[in-house]
């Protein structure tokens, strides 16, 4: 385990709320997860979960002018990504026939993460927290 994984860190990325920025967010997630010394499978899980949360935020925040913020925090051997959009929730519009992924994002987040939580931000946006425990294997009672 690296020193960094034990010391913890905190970093933030802010991008325009558009799906074209998802790949950039995934690189941010990958770098943070690797620094936390997670194995490649968990790194992949985090990329999927955070990317899905961001995609939902883009879809529902509905305004590219409002930045999408992803915060990575490693503390007490828990790596948490907090996805915050400051837009007002609205149903996706216009409905697109080719957009069949309704309902898949949330099950993926729940299946891949150790903890998932949603909250309304004080400013009116939505916050999604996605966490993995660095010692997950050791923490599970036999």
């Amino acid at each position: 385990m690296t020193d960094l994984a034990d010391q913890g860190f905190h970093r933030v990325i802010r991008v325009k709320a558009e799906t074209a920025r998802l790949a950039e967010i995934r690189r941010f997630v990958e770098e943070a997860a690797l620094e936390a010394a997670l194995d490649l499978e968990r790194v992949f899980d985090l990329k999927v979960a955070v990317s899905e949360a961001c995609a939902n935020a883009v879809e529902h925040a509905g305004c590219e002018e409002v930045p999408l913020e992803v915060c990575a925090r490693l503390q007490a051997r828990r790596l948490t990504f907090i996805v915050t959009d400051t837009g007002l929730f609205r149903p996706p519009s216009p409905p697109r026939e080719s957009f069949h992924n309704r309902g898949l994002g949330l099950p993926l987040m729940v299946a891949l993460m150790d903890e998932v939580s949603f909250a309304r931000s004080p400013g009116g946006g939505t916050t999604v927290s996605l966490s993995v425990l660095l010692d997950r294997g050791a923490a599970i009672p036999v």
């Binding site: 790949a23 995934r26 992949f44 990329k47 999927v48 957009f99 898949l104 994002g105 993926l108 299946a111």
Partner: protein
Amino acid sequence: MDVTVTKLGETLLLETTGDIDRNVCGPVEEALNEAIADGTDTVLLDLRQVTYIDSGGLSVILSGVRRLRERGWLGVIGPNSNVRRLLEIVGLLVDPNFRVFEDEEAARTALGDRVTT
């Protein structure tokens, strides 16, 4: 995102590379829709060079499987272990109209079996 359409025997084989996320999955969806609209009962998607897939890409596959429900199946070739895990989470691995092949040879064998039975 580029999609190359070739054939394995008589079966359409779609090849693509990199990340299949919702931002770039359009060409895969179009190629798949076109193949299915042509009346084919079997389509193969080569995932050997695909490193990442999100719910947008998974939905394209699920949609293809649904559309082939009454007449055949959709097969993927060589998904990496991470992509395969996501296919499992969304229920594709237990779908009778979906198949996973380790490599092209396994797909060819399955197609051969299907033709002769």
